[in-house]
Amino acid sequence: MKRYSVFAVAREALRYHSGWERAWASPEPKKKYDVIIIGAGGHGLATAYYLGKNFGITNVAIIEKGWLGGGNTGRNTTIIRSNYLQDPSAAIYEKARSLYETMSQDLNYNVMYSPRGVMMLAQTQHEIRGYQRTAHANALQGVKTEFIGPERVKELVPIINISGPRYPVLGALWQDRAGTARHDAVAWGYARACSDMGMDVIQKCEVTAIRREGGKVVGVTTTRGDIDCNKLGVVVAGHTGVVADMAGFRLPIESVALQALVSEPIKPCMDVVVMANTVHGYMSQSDKGEMVIGGGADGYNNYTQRGSFHHIEETVRALVETFPMISRLKMLRQWGGIVDMTGDRSPIISKTPVENVFINCGWGTGGFKAIPGSGWAMAELIAKGEPGPLAEEFSMWRFREGKFIDESVAAGVAH
């Protein structure tokens, strides 16, 4: 693989960019792989990447029914943070955040990780207590956060209205090393790195069956033929239920539509990410200048990648209240993605009832920020056959034991 650098760009400029290689190969599927990953989104690609990088397993295919990064990886609001309350969540999200810090250099692909800071507003007494608790928990988890007062909020975000008549801002939980990254680039960077390690990223190839013998997986049937494997990782987010069905087991998952929207681009006016959970809205400004806004999830099962407009109204209403200046901006585009929700809204990284089938799902509304940590933990699970410390609490069997990882407790929503 030719390395990307400013010098490479300059060299190519002189020959009108005729010498750039493909970012990733487009191979025909082989007969058999050591590991097949279903789903070439961020989580699937990251899993493959760390299988290669951490465990030297490179005879790997990542199979994607559409185009790589085309699911929730390319539809989210790009927020990266790790200010979670519960230990297992904080561990995996902080692992992810720390990997994001060096991802551009690691992958030799600029994913534009921008540690611009994320603040979660406290607008009720209850939220103040919740975030103070999170700040205490984070300090012990090695996650650097602090609870800040309204004046500091205003200083960091001059466009915010801290004294609205309904929900004045009383403070915020602030994580200064949290931020955003360019979502597509994360998928592309991983795909390029996987391809470079000799892995096959196979797009437009839909898995139609999972073949088992004696309770063990032996391969998959796809729209491009049968492919054998020793181990299978299922990393398909919203379609997890559909794929688990093929493997013959059930999961505590429901799929719903989650929406987002962007404004037209404007010159920089907000340098940090702000989440306002009492009024239900969050916003950041992309490097292009668009205000990127996260909306709510529908409460009913939905596979359409379209949501209901009243969620957009609720979100925009909340943000106009929080940032009055956006009233005169315009919504450029709205869209939806299908997210998979578990019983406690935390993910599953787990062995399954089928031997050598491993599952990674249930990221709900919080998947993008977890990508590298999720891939790291999933790679370890697949390589060793047993979960490591990052994954062990995220078993699919925790619900029957009543051992939840519930993040909603501190008013923290998992966006």
Binding site: V6, V9, A10, E12, Y16, H17, W20, R22, W24, A25, S26, W67, G70, G74, A91, S104, N108, Y109, N110, M112, P115, T124, Q132, T134, A135, H136, A137, L140, Q141, E146, F147, I159, P165, R166, Y167, D184, E264, P265, I266, K267, K288, G289, F309, E313, R317, L319, V320, P324, M325, I326, S327, R328, L329, R333, P389, E392, E401, G402, F404, S408
Partner: protein, 1003 residues
């Protein structure tokens, strides 16, 4: 140069001049102008700078598809960035400035990027700016952010208002051109309720510009007559300046009305968002002309051929004196003819087709226009604006055959139907090879709730470019929609239009077809985002083969026009690079809205006080007038404390606690949930709802109860009173009233529907006052009306009666540990009762208290608070509430869940009291630490603080917390970690800090 013609301009009223400002220059226009036509009339060709290279940008279109000409409009509270000049109607005093440049539009430092363009191809930023690592955040990103963006951020609060509108129709027709009007007429005649909308201020669309003849009338006359006919129909509503913004599932249509954008000084909402439910939608949205990709096609002065024509016909504005027309279809000839007829020069029509055009070519030649067939533009000449074109053969690589001086280039690459609304909700497209366009596939229309199609497309939007065909199609569409919506369709005849025969279009995606890389690097696809033919080709070479990849990698179509001009050209280039047919490449997804709509309109009226409903208790106004520091609790606002002058909030809270403990306090407890549960099976039902046994509660008594969800977690608590044999009154938390009511209904309706129970939420029917403190009984006795003695109403009992002439229900319950009566009176008399208590209580030292005082007093007594001691993961057993869990019952909600291994684990953290060794207040939410780290390197913890206060009564910090083995470790000292890294030592103690034996409440 562009200028106003002495004649023409069907939309402008030359009797009404209008003055406006652009970049400080005072300019003149007329009523009926758009800002675009007015700028062009003043020779303001340069109107902005592009996103990436800061190239000079001029107006390229005449409608919603305009990618370039965006301005900052207005000032102060009326400022708005990124206003499209082509859809901004001119008004007197309009104030606009251009965007995305520094220091000035004419001299922009950022334009240096255009010289670096070679080094900044598609996706360059993914390949560089990686070293050194901190530079991304501190150097590269700020630079990129500053040079990106377009308009300025608004600074002031929006001075305008907005509103929402609900509407219901059988048929909504989107588009007020001849197809839309035809469809609307047919739907209207059927008796269906019809809305027809037009996004601009004028009816008629393109036909009136092109002078089509319909049923023997000029289009303009036919349109006027049709609009009049529609107006006369009572079942039809017609609106201009109303845009179909988005089509959603089950016939939901979002429309955006611009009421005051053109009348900014008039009162009333600026925009109105229509939320429409309709049985059928007809999209008669027309088509958008495509640019052609040739070198220099982005220079100001290069414009869509139809736009050049629009400016002459509609607004009497010429873009240049000498216009070269370049085309691959016949329609652009109309532009040449219109220009010639207006007395302007058309040095040549460059037609890429070998065979040229049909009848229109003869007409053009007849006017003396030179027509070059099989030719192409090698490049446009000029710096900052067009000065000429170099001509070459379309078949070649760009060898220049001739140069023609001109100041305007009118280009037409064919037409793309506006399929956005068709596509929003799942309508599919098919590729029409002959016309080189994606058009709606009627076999794959958006389906509604019934599974039947609910969108029909009509006219040009359906791919019928010729007026004659479009009218027939629209006629049928209107009838089909009416029929599907239940209207009665009568026999009729479609209007007949006469169009000249046209030669077929030839798909031209690059000009000339063998253009060299140097030319391709100057052939723009997306003018705003600076995406060129070479960029898309690079993306394809690098493996970005999916149309979504190519879009995201190059940013093609991601500008504010969402690719209205660039998408089809871009995916044709991509398809060519991938050697695959265009339909195999497919399109990107069309998402709402059709054009951007204001956030203000989406938010509607819900701002400030109206942002969310406020619930007020009957005593609210007294609180407001007496220093209440409110806190939001759900939609309620409750006094946190009543602050007197000279006091801090903290002082006020301490005063309220001491006064209540020593004398008399009043709490407005009206927000507490009150649910009546009634019926023969009510007792059995409540035994399932609560962990306690409620069926055995004697009439006249009260019992504290706990509710869990099916996961076993504590979800609400409150005192239940048995009113009579088959009636219970359940108090819930303030936040729980609606939730618990819904929860009860859920179980009664969906699980135990044969149980005879009714539930009524009477929360707002009663005002409730807690009369608390040693003097509580005295004040009630003074008011008089019923016996409130210990004997008449013992602790945990209730009685009905009258107090001061007001019907009252008196509960002897206490959440403070003091002698306490909670008194419910009819809501309408709540304020009178409150005032009565204050007056009568004066001699007993009465003071109202707020929620913080309530919290402190309950913490001093070791009472739990839902939301503090519980967080959705806590079970009653964690809070040592086993006494409130009936052992006799086989079942209650949550019981099975609490048997699961983790729930029954003896190692769960349990509730204890905590006292710091130094008397300080433990930080809220602090964790107790244990030695060592867990397997993820996180510090081990053994407990956490759930409630913590300074107790004014005890004058020290008190707290409750959940601690591992806590109840077995009384007296032990554990360490809590503060956020600054230091620790506080606290002793595990009994959670009841005050009046451990409960003597004070039971007097």
């Amino acid at each position: 140069m562009s200028t106003r013609l002495s004649s023409g301009g069907r939309l402008v009223n030359k009797d009404k001049p209008v003055e406006f400002q652009f970049n400080g220059k005072r300019l003149k226009g007329y009523e009926g102008d758009t800002l675009a036509s007015a700028l062009l009339a003043n020779d303001q060709m340069l109107v902005g700078r592009s996103f990436k290279y800061h190239r000079p940008r001029g107006i390229v279109a005449s409608g919603a598809e305009e990618p370039n000409a965006l301005v900052n409009l207005g000032q102060g509270g009326k400022f708005e960035p990124n206003q499209r000049v082509t859809t901004t109607e001119l008004f007197d005093g309009l104030y606009a400035t251009s965007q995305n440049h520094w220091p000035t539009l004419e001299f922009d430092i950022g334009a240096i990027n255009t010289y670096l363009a070679r080094f900044l191809p598609a996706g360059f930023y993914y390949k560089m700016f990686m070293f050194p690592r901190p530079f991304w955040k501190h150097v590269y990103e700020p630079f990129i952010r500053q040079s990106a963006g377009l308009g300025k951020a608004p600074k002031d609060r929006d001075a305008d208002t907005y509103e929402h509108f609900y509407a219901f129709y059988d048929v909504v027709v989107i588009g007020g051109g001849i197809a839309g009007l035809t469809a609307a007429l047919e739907a209207g005649k059927s008796g269906a309720r019809v809305l027809v909308m037009e996004q601009t201020a004028a009816w008629g669309g393109r036909a009136v510009v092109d002078g089509v003849e319909i049923d023997g009338q000029a289009a303009e006359e036919w349109v006027a007559a049709s609009v009049e006919a529609l107006q006369a129909m009572e079942n039809v509503e017609i609106r201009t300046r109303l845009m179909g913004a988005g089509v959603y599932d089950h016939g939901y249509l979002l429309a955006y009305e611009r009421l005051r954008d053109h009348l900014p000084e008039e009162k009333g909402p600026r925009h109105r968002l229509w939320r429409i439910r309709t049985k059928q939608i007809v999209t008669a949205t027309g088509a958008i002309e495509r640019p052609i990709s040739f070198a220099g096609n982005d220079l100001p002065g290069v414009m869509l051929a139809s736009a050049v024509r629009d400016y002459v016909v509609n607004w009497g504005v010429s873009i240049g004196d000498r216009t070269v027309v370049v085309t691959n279809n016949d329609d652009a000839y109309r532009t040449a003819i219109v220009l010639k007829e207006a007395g302007l020069d058309v040095p040549a029509i460059i037609d890429a087709r070998q065979g040229g055009a049909g009848a229109l070519m003869d007409e053009a030649r007849g006017l003396g226009i030179r027509v070059e067939t099989g030719k192409a533009i090698a490049k446009v000449k000029g710096k900052g604006r067009v000065t000429g074109v170099a001509i070459c053969a379309q078949a070649g690589q760009g060898g220049v055959l001739d140069e023609i001086a001109c100041d305007c280039v009118a280009m037409s690459g064919g037409w793309s139907p506006v399929v956005h609304l068709w596509s929003h909700c799942g309508g599919k497209l098919k590729w029409d090879d002959a016309q080189a366009m994606f058009r709606p596939d009627p076999a794959k229309a958006p389906k509604g709730a019934s599974g039947e199609a609910f969108v029909i497309t009509a006219g040009i939007a359906n791919g019928h470019l010729r007026s004659a065909d479009a009218l027939v199609d629209a006629f049928e569409a209107g009838r089909s929609a009416a029929k599907a919506a239940g209207g009665k369709v009568k026999a009729g005849k479609a209007p007949v239009a006469a169009d000249a025969d046209e030669a077929t279009l030839e798909a031209i995606w690059l000009m000339p077809q063998g253009a060299s890389i140097k030319l391709r690097m100057k052939a723009w696809l997306d003018f705003q985002n600076d995406v060129k033919v070479s960029d898309v080709q690079l993306a394809a070479r690098e493996g970005f083969e999916s149309v979504e990849h190519a879009k995201r990698y190059t940013t093609l179509g991601m500008a504010t026009d969402q690719g209205k001009l660039s998408n089809i050209n871009g995916l044709a280039i991509l398809s060519d690079a991938l050697d695959q047919p265009i339909p195999q490449t497919g399109t990107t997804t069309f998402r709402p809205p059709y054009t951007p709509i204001s956030m203000g309109a989406i938010a509607g009226e819900a701002r400030d006080e109206l942002f969310q409903p406020i619930r007020r208790t009957p005593m609210y106004q007294w609180h407001e007038a007496n220093g209440a520091d409110f806190e939001p609790v759900g939609h309620w606002r409750r006094p946190y404390a009543f602050v007197r002058s000279g006091e801090s909030v903290h002082d006020a809270v301490n005063r309220e606690v001491m006064n209540t403990r020593e004398k008399l306090g009043l709490l407005d407890a009206s927000t507490l949930g009150k649910l009546i549960v009634k019926g023969p099976d009510a007792g059995k039902f409540l035994d399932m709802m609560y962990t306690n046994m409620m069926s055995t509660l004697p009439v006249g008594k009260c019992r504290y109860g706990l509710m869990c969800n099916e996961n076993g977690f504590l979800s609400d608590d409150g005192v239940v009173a048995r009113i009579n044999e088959d009636t219970w009154l359940c108090h819930t938390t303030t936040g729980g009233a609606d939730r618990i009511h819904a929860w009860m209904e859920d179980w009664l309706q969906c699980e135990w529907w044969d149980w005879k129970v009714y539930v009524a939420n009477v929360t707002e029917q009663y005002a409730q006052v807690a009369v608390v403190g040693p003097n509580a009984r005295k004040v009630l006795e003074k008011i008089g009306g019923m016996d409130v003695s210990k004997e008449a109403i013992p602790f945990m009992q209730w009685a009905d009666g009258e107090l001061g002439g007001i019907k009252a229900r008196v509960y002897r319950i206490s959440f403070s540990g003091e002698l306490s009566y909670e008194i419910a009176v009819p809501a309408s008399q709540g304020r009178a009762f409150w005032d009565m208590l204050l007056e009568a209580g004066e001699e007993f030292g009465v003071m109202p208290y707020g929620t913080e005082c309530l919290h402190i007093m309950r913490a001093e007594k070791g009472f739990i608070m839902i939301g503090d001691e519980t967080d959705g993961t806590v079970i009653p057993q964690d809070l040592n509430l086993n006494w409130a869990i009936s052992k006799k019952k086989e079942d209650y909600l949550g019981k099975r869940a609490q048997e699961r291994s983790h729930m029954a684990d003896p190692n769960r953290w349990k509730l204890v009291g905590l006292e710091t060794l130094d008397g300080s207040v433990l930080p809220d939410g602090a964790y107790a630490v244990a030695p060592g780290l867990n397997s993820n390197g996180q510090r081990n913890t053994i407990g956490r603080v759930t409630s913590t206060y300074h107790s004014p009564t005890l004058n020290k910090g008190i707290a409750m917390g959940l601690v591992h083995n806590g109840p077995d470790r009384m007296g032990d000292v554990i360490e809590f970690r503060k956020v600054d890294g230091t620790t506080v030592k606290a002793r595990i103690v009994d959670q009841v800090f005050y009046d451990k034996d409960g003597e004070k409440q039971n007097v």
